[in-house]
Each structure stands twice: as structure tokens, then as C-alpha cells.
Amino acid sequence: MDSNTTMMIEIKDLHKSYKMGKNSLHVLKGINFNVKEGELVAIMGSSGSGKSTLLNILGMLDEADEGSYTLDGVPIKNLNEKLAAQYRNKFLGFIFQSFNLINYKSALDNVALPLYYQGMKRAERMERSMAYLEKVGLAKWASHKPNELSGGQKQRVAIARALASDPKVLLADELTGALDSTTSYEIMDLIQQINDEGRTILVVTHEEDIAHMTKRIVNLKDGVIIDDKFVNQVRAIQNV
């Protein structure tokens, strides 16, 4: 990693607990963690390790109790809902395990949605969305609804949607969790290509093979990072 690349994500001493009745569940117990621009990082851990909570905080869907979070030099704290929405739209692209496409909208309209919330005009929105659908190889499927697409295709639409607003960071939550292994590798191949173009990507997963297709694996257990190492990236294309 070049030392002159900018720091994309900086997390210092992050704590988060949830109140469960009278008990309080301490989920994140002091996370320190930096991601530079262009990295492809896997966050691993068993369920209950806090990896989803961490991702939610990184995605501004949830707020930390303590510690600091800086995204591309912008401190993320005390956000009201409106500001959080604007930051999410500007900085982040989400990819979910269950795709989370809007099922009454066509693939193209789904991809265009973040751009609608940016206030972009319709014609420009559609043109740009089409370009991203092309990038994920689904230009022909632009007018299809999600229920007419396979799981792999849905995830490609979701990836195109995450890319549409040209975000700083892609956050993927178990993005291959609902897919068979061949399709998973195809999706990971796409993720690697996007990363090759310089996009910073964080992938939460509990699958070893998927994790090894990234460049760095962060292991979480009981709310702390127990291991953080760079790995030799396995190219997904070899497995397809």
C-alpha cells in the first residue's frame, strides 16, 4: 500500500452497546481501524461478533456511543436524519444480502433511485443508470422487474445501484449470502474489477473463500478486532 494514498475510513476506539431491558449488551468494545482509498477489506466474524453493527455504524444507519469515525476527512457525528441521508447518498453505496431492490420498479429505475434523491434530472439519471447497468452486464435487462431476474442478476442490479451515485465507499453485507457458489464467484469477480478501478470496498462475510478474494481480512470476535492482516488476493475469475 502506498503511503501517500488518502485515508478513507478512520475509526478510533469505537464503542456500541444495546439496551436489552435492564441489561446492556456491549457489542463493540473499542474498535480501532483504518481503511485507505482503494482497499478491498473483508470483515469476518461469527454471528454476534459485532461485524454487522460495525457495518451499520460505517453506513451511518446506526450511531456509535463512543469513539470517532471519519469518512474521507469528514467527521461523522451527531448527524440528524436529514444530514445522515445526504451523507449516505453522497459517500456510500450499499449492497445487501437480500438485494433490497424495489420490486415494482424496473432494473433501470432501481439503479436510478439514488440519483433521484440527488435531484438529478430524469434524462440524465436514466442515461447514467443505463451506463452502470451496462457495466454490470445487464443492459439488456434494463426494463425487467426484479422478480424476472435471477439472484445473481438482482445482485448485479444492486451493485449498479450502489455505484450509480459514485460513492467513496461500497459497503457490502454478506453480498453472496443468498447465492450459489458459482454465482457468488461471478459477483466477487465483479467486485474485484470495481476495486481494480480504485473504489474502496468493505465486505462483511463469514465465508472464508469470499474473504480470501479481498486484499485484507479483519477478524472480529466479541466486539474486538482479534486479527487484521493483508492477504494474497485470490482472483475470483479462477474459480468461475
Binding site: 444507519l61 441521508a85 449516505r88 433490497n100 424495489i102 434523491y117 435531484g119 430524469r122 451515485s165
Partner: protein
Amino acid sequence: MFSLERWQEIFETISKNKLRTFLTGFSVGSGIFILVILLGVSVGFQNGIENQFQGDAENIINIYPGETSIEYQGFNEGRRIQLKNDDFDLITKGISNEVEFSSSMYQIFAGLITYKNESGSYRVEGVMPDYQFLEKADIIEGRFINANDLKVSEKYVVIGNRVKKDLFKNGSPIGKQIKISGLNFKVIGVYTDPGGDREEGRVYVPLSTAQIVFGAGTDIRSMGFTLPKEDNYDLALKESSAFAAKIEQLLKKKLQIAPLDESAINISNNIENTKEIYLLISAMRVFFWGVGIATLLAGIIGVSNIMLIIVKERTKEIGIRKALGAEPLSIVAMILHESIFVTAISGLLGLIFGLVLLEVVGPYIELDFIRNPSVNFNIAVSTLVLLIAAGAIAGFFPAWRGAKIKPIDALRDE
């Protein structure tokens, strides 16, 4: 509200969720439709009842003279009282501001009327223009007697529908000359009367003409008055009784009748006989308003329920939209915009459908107790506006709740 982009988004959502749109629209549209029909039937009912019970204005006060029963100021008892034009003037000038319609009348009970070869004996009444309203006579052809006819004692006659049928069969009588007691009168109008055949077997001529033709001088046989209508029966009765008492007092003083004489001046106050009608109409009004408001309430509750269900159904979509950068206000705006648009359009359709139905079918409905149901357009439109506003307010809370949904909760896998 006027952002073209959002309209496009709304139209897309609406057109791609046809069932949901239809259900929301249907509940609003049918609510308004039922309300319009109900209001219409209520008016029809009122028309029907009024028609059933009222041959004459329900609040008419008639005054006709009798004989004195008490010796007074040098006059013997048993004196026949004759009312004159100036007695009528005394009342209308003295207390005119309280009166709605007034007319004095001079009649002969059996006048021979002929037209060509047809003839018959009918009651001939010399009246004033207001008499039309006292009798509730409806002009179906031509016009009624007017003030000018009275002033210049025109030999004009307005005939009842039965008289027309007897003398003219199917031809139009307007402009024709008929003979009354041998004198030519020009027919200027035909009337129908809710009092039926009996009251349609009369002809009306200007009072002044009748007085000349029948050699009555300034004599009149009776006079009638109505007061402006009151919604409340008790108030109407009170005002009308006070008015009658005032007339009696004025006349007795002028005609030198003992204040306690009960047979010299007869006053029949129709309102005393119409208490039931007043009560029935006001009870019905309360009933239909009650039903109408209940319907409206049901519609509002229906709309808010549907809004709740829609927000529930769209929880995940809202979560996705928020994760992609939708601000809370834009979620509220989206849901409200959609719901107001759908309620407005479907409510308008229900309104139009109801009004058209009443307009087309209404005039044909002539049951005993329902006549010509129709609805006040302003009331219909204001209920529509009220329903849309209520729908928006009712929809606001679910929308606000929707906007408060946390994306992580909404997106959590089931």
C-alpha cells in the same frame, strides 16, 4: 408539490401498484358517492313530505270576518263584519316588515266560464300577486297575476290545470279569451296546485278586476299572510301567534269590535296544524345529517386505515429509499402526495358519479314520500374537500411514522 420529478415518481408508483391505488380510491370514491346519494335522498324525502302534507303554505295565516257576538260602542250584537281594502292596507302598512307574502281576496263560488262550446262552473277568486305563494300554486304555462295587472284592473285570468283540461283539452290556453259571467278575460297562465284537483278547479283574476266585475266596491272576503320561515317550530309558532294577535287587535280597534269578541274576526293559523310536519322534517334532517356524518367518518377512518396499511406494506421500500439517501421529509411528502392525489381523483369521480345519477334518475323518482332527490353542489364539494383534508391529516401520521423508520430495522431480513 409542483416538482415535476416527484409527480413522475408518484405516477410511476401509482401505475405500478394498481390494486393498492384502486382500493384506496374505491373506499374514498364510494364514501363520497354514498354521501351524495344520501344527501340527495334526504332532500327528496323532504320534498316528498312537504308535497304530501301541504296544499297551502304551511305557515299561512288566514283572516275572514264573521258576526259580532258582543254589543259594543252602540252596535248591537249580531252585526256582520265586512272587510275592506283599507283594512288590508292597515295591516300591511302597519306591520309590513314582518310579513313575507300577503294578499287579500274576493271570490265568487260559482262563476260560469265558457270557451267556445265548452263551459263549466268554477270558483273565481280575485287575488293579489303574492297569492301564488300563499296557495303554493306552480305556474306551468305563462305567468301569474302581477302588480301591474292589479293596478290597472286587467281582465286577465290564470286558470287551474283542471279548468284547462276541461275547457281546452290539450291545446294551449295562453292568450285565448274565455268568458267569465259573460265578460271576456284573457288567459295569461296555467297553474298546478299541490292541493290537487279541488284547488286546480279555480281561476284567479286580479283583485281589483274582480271587485269591479262583481260589483264589490272595495269589499274583500278574506286576507292571508305568511311570515318568513323559521327552522324551529316553537319559534315559528310563537312569532306567528304574536302576529295573529297583533292583526286581531288592529282590526278590532278599527272596526269597533269588542276586544273579547271571539266570533267577529276569525283567524286560522295554519301553523298550528303543521307541527307534525315541522317535527318530521327537522327529525329527518337530523337523521340524514347523522347518517351522512357517520358515512363521512367511516370514509375518513377507512382512508387512514389504508394509509397505515400502505406504510406498513412499504416499510421495506422506505428503508431502502432512506438507505439510498431519501430524507425523512421526502418520505412524508411522497406518501402524502400520493394519498392526496388518489383521494382527490377518486373522491371527485365518486362525487361526479353521484351527482350524475341524481341528475339523471332523480326527476323520475316520484314515490309518495320521495320527490326529485337532488343535492346542494356546494355541500357535496365541501364534503369532498373535507374528506381530502381529513385523509391528508389521517395520512400524515402514518407517513410521519414511515419517515421515522430506521433503515436498519426496515432492511433486517425477515
